[in-house]
Symmetry: C2
Subunit: 434 residues, 2 copies
């Protein structure tokens, strides 16, 4: 399936200019040895117990197709900053490195490599911006969505965010990331087509307003879509519920409406009142669906308060990760030409060397990649010499199933992350060498 956001001919230019100026300097200096870069999150934000790794599929797709087109090279030439010899180098540049990664859908913690890239310096450097762009956003949304799913305690959750997310790519990737985290469906039709996610939706307020009265609108809609959800809050919510009941009682009506939707006002109070009215009218099978500025905090409150709500539509606040709309991700050089590297700036250090993460029931261990350690290793090789390996080709359903299983095994207590003895020694050694 075509993915225009990754497949654009000039996607190699979705990068920061400094990547190209650095590459030109490396090229001039003859620096092209093997480099290892880690993509990790520096800090897990407040109100997140863990993050859900997401975005690898787009990364691998990008790496497989990476190239500078003649049009891209002509643009770079027009900047008068790049030598023609360097532009020829770029014309031949492909990604031919190895990639190790934790499977999408895996819970991860601060400083644990989510993706490790091993490639000649230029190849590993030029891809930084795109990798961060995709993995930061998708991991952020999957992590937020996992909280929404948990708060709903088994009730249906539908992703509704496209209209107010940050552009079209965000709308697509948020639908995918939410599905990874256990959200059951999306309103985004293209996400349904591209990713095979179930799509959901029935009517908006404008449908009601187009008709002379609310009950006329309900009647007309139910005639076309009998097993539908009717939106009851366009004018007055309680009156809207009464109109649903009136419709059910009309003679010769084949009433098969499955649910009503509340989209504004005091959702708990309105749901309770609506439930009573429906039950009293022998419409106990008509479910109540709620939407409107929902997130895990509001949903937890409604569930805790016993509001008779059967499902939630969640949009903007989940898809922009409203309380933490960015993740402090980094893509850092950890090894070059056979030597571990490390940055020491204030608050922005990183762990040197090639690593493996081992998961145990109560804690993880970040170790050097060839160091034996207790636990289940999380990083697996997903690409070799620029080609995807089977581990890099999981379906979205497999990823969502994996996420569900992995999240279910996390302990309730905070999960500890330890540094292995050999990694600690490596850090000590590099610090002393400076």
């Amino acid at each position: 399936m075509n993915d225009p956001w990754v497949d654009d001919d000039n996607a190699a230019l979705l990068t920061d200019l400094y990547q190209l100026t650095m590459l030109q300097a490396y090229h001039r200096e003859g620096l092209g040895a093997e480099a290892v870069f880690d993509l990790f999150v520096r800090r897990v934000p407040e109100h997140r117990d863990y993050l859900v790794a997401c975005g690898l599929d787009d990364v691998l797709r990008y790496l497989e197709r990476f190239r500078f087109t003649p049009a891209a090279l002509a643009y770079l030439d027009s900047l008068d900053r790049f030598s023609s010899e360097f532009l020829h180098f770029l014309a031949d540049l492909r990604f031919e490195g190895d990639v190790h990664a934790v499977p999408e859908g895996t819970p991860v913690y601060a400083n644990e490599p989510i993706i490790e890239v091993v490639a000649p310096l230029a190849q590993a450097q030029i891809i930084e911006t795109f990798l961060l762009n995709q993995v930061s956003f998708q991991t952020m949304v999957a992590s937020k969505a996992a909280r929404v799913v948990a708060a709903a305690e088994g009730r249906t959750v539908v992703e509704f965010g496209l209209r107010r997310l940050h552009g079209t790519d965000a709308g697509m990737k948020a639908a995918r990331a939410a599905f990874v985290a256990g959200v059951g469906a999306t309103s985004n039709v293209l996400a349904g087509m591209v990713y095979g996610i179930p799509v959901a939706g029935t009517m908006a307020h404008s449908y009601i307003e187009t008709h002379d009265s609310e009950i006329d609108a309900f009647r007309a809609f139910a005639a076309v879509e009998p097993e539908t959800t009717l939106l009851v809050d366009t004018y007055d919510t309680i009156e809207g519920v009464r109109n649903v009941i009136r419709l059910a009682r009309e003679p010769d009506t084949d009433f098969r409406v499955k649910a009503i939707r509340l989209d504004s006002g005091d959702l708990a109070g309105l749901a309770t009142a609506a439930r009573e009215l429906l039950d009293d009218a022998d419409l106990g099978h008509v479910e109540i669906f709620a939407s409107g500025n929902l997130d895990e905090y509001r949903i937890a409150e409604l569930v805790r308060g016993g509001a008779p709500i059967d499902g939630f539509g969640v949009g903007t606040r989940m898809g922009v990760s409203d309380d933490h709309p960015s993740l402090d991700t980094a893509y850092k050089l950890v090894r070059y030409a056979g030597r571990s590297r490390m940055k020491f700036s204030a608050d922005k250090s990183n762990l040197p060397g090639r690593k493996q993460v081992y998961r145990n029931a109560t804690h993880d261990v970040i170790a050097l990649h060839d160091e034996p350690a207790q636990g289940r290793p999380l990083l697996e090789q997903v690409m070799a010499g620029g080609k995807r390996l089977p581990a890099g080709t999981r379906t979205l359903q497999q990823i969502a199933d994996h996420a569900r299983r992995e999240i279910a095994t996390l302990p309730d207590e905070p999960h500890r992350v330890d540094i292995s003895p050999a990694l600690a020694a490596e850090i000590e050694l590099i610090s002393q060498l400076r």
Copy 2:
């Protein structure tokens, strides 16, 4: 220039499923009269005095190309929800309506129509989700960027956000929106190519770490890019500045370095110390550029405190509009089949009828479109019968120039927004009719 985010063959499916289920009902009911929809912002967020309208160009591009491909129709057919007669209707559906809009770059306030669509019901309804997606995000970023530019008080601002914005479309549109609001350049190379925005950038920490020592890295980079900016905080910022000074003093050096960049730590203190060191070394012409989690609040603090900083790199916090990562935008039916419409739900009402916004020195007036009122009208026709008019074809530079002029004319006091007498009478009349 190709814009894959809008030009995707299946962009018509970048919509919520409920738009399609509503369209099918309208189609079955024979409802296809002329509808008028307004796109507006319900509330201007705290810490924003005004919003900067942005995103119209993508909207018009989308409307011009709107169609359902055979692949899109086959997907919809596979959902078993749409009749083949309705799918044939969709196959022929094009946007042939009129669009009125305030020019991109114009400051706007709550409830003022940013875009008004006049078209047969199905055409005006199906485009809702995409219009909101683009205009919400771009207006949000342009509004945030205008604050960053104001806080910098004439100092250079460069947009750095691509790596941590919400996907690729966000990275592209944020660069464009920031430029509209007065940001001078972007690090995003593809935004440079597609939009003609100046691009900027030199080196990252990984460049320094790839070399055996910081001064070796500086020397090597300056040899390739003499008039560059050197990043001085990889290991120890003050030592980094001293290394720049050492480089300048090396025999036979053609030292033409233009600036240093601070990316971490106490920016005010480090900038002051760096300025002193540079000045004492007769390097008064070397500028100081700062970056790292900056936004308008931090920049205002640095400028107020007199930090000797000549330019700012601003990334994530501007591009995700960190303090308000979404806008409360709406696209509402205001007229159908010749009659004004209005929604009354709690907190979500809208202004009925076709409207015009008139700007005056101290206040705006929202009036009916054919009502005479004081002031300069903001809405202009940009599309007729699905074709762009000259007012819908402004260049990005024209839009940025317009924004600068319009923002400069805003008063310091809060700008009042009045409802005209005829519009107030219309609201009263509709309320009584219910």
